[in-house]
Amino acid sequence: MRAIYSNNNCLVFALVFLVSGCSSVQLISNYDETTDRNAQALQRKFDSHLVSLQNSGEEGLKFKNNQEFYESASVDLTALKVRAEGIYKNKITIEQIDLATTNLAYLVLLNKRCMSTDKPLTAAQIQAVGEMGPDLSMDCDVAFGAEADRPARGEMTLEREAIPSIKSMFNQLFGAIMAAELAKKRGDKSSKE
């Protein structure tokens, strides 16, 4: 019995050695105010743009009139990711930013009408969108997940009926990035609200 007790003590000490090495364990990065603030800025940027599109005329829905927004949003997302990659144990936030970038790529494809009208996306298209990100050119390119290579898509319009869903999704996605960031404040529950 004494031997078992002693063995258990050894196990506890071994476990402590394994998991500590210092005074505490860290499984996820610390809160980063810049990430939080930039994610919020992106949420506002997308929401504001999509609200204005909802109320715009046909001209406003054309890809050529939104290309600048997509370029700017893409740069913002890249900047957010570069910062996130520099932070220790930040895999979750990096993956979330990648998902936002993929959704931007889908929005661009929708605006340029690069997908089939009567068939769902293929697995190859989905893979291409995830790997290549947004195609900010005026053309449809199979390499970026388009159904076929098609030039000069500037006159193509975003389907107005789809805008409320797109807006909800971007709001929720950026909200999820902010929620994950706020959770990293640890222990201070009031700050998570």
């Binding site: 005074s23 364990v25 979750i92 789809a162 909800s168 999704m169 929620a179 994950a180 990293k184 640890r186």
Partner: protein
């Protein structure tokens, strides 16, 4: 074609998440419940505009892919919250044995 029901969707998502997060669920549910409801509402919205033929099948499939990515991002946030809770539990456990361990060893390990 049977249409989607908000309550059914939310109930299914909540049941799946509760099973995964088990005892940590009460700490996560305040965030997860309203987020799952938002996800379900957007799904219903997409189904509605497709059923009314306001968007093409191709566009509907793009919106569904976007919705899947949004769901993944929400689940990642939930996972992050779970990791913070596990981390807090481990550190609380370490703190609880700190004095005993350090005294037994004769130096400050923890």
């Amino acid at each position: 074609m049977a249409s989607l029901k908000l309550e059914d969707l939310v109930t299914s998502m909540l049941a799946a998440a509760k099973a995964v997060f088990d005892k940590r669920w009460p700490d996560i549910k305040d965030y997860a419940e309203p987020e799952f409801e938002k996800l379900a509402r957007t799904l219903i919205q997409i189904e509605g505009i497709r059923t009314r033929k306001k968007i093409s099948e191709g566009s509907a499939s793009v919106l569904l892919e976007m919705q899947k990515n949004t769901t993944r991002a929400v689940m990642l946030a939930v996972e992050g919250m779970g990791l913070v809770l596990i981390e807090e539990a481990i550190n609380a456990a370490l703190k609880a044995v700190k004095d005993v361990v350090n005294t037994a060893l004769g130096f400050a390990l923890i």
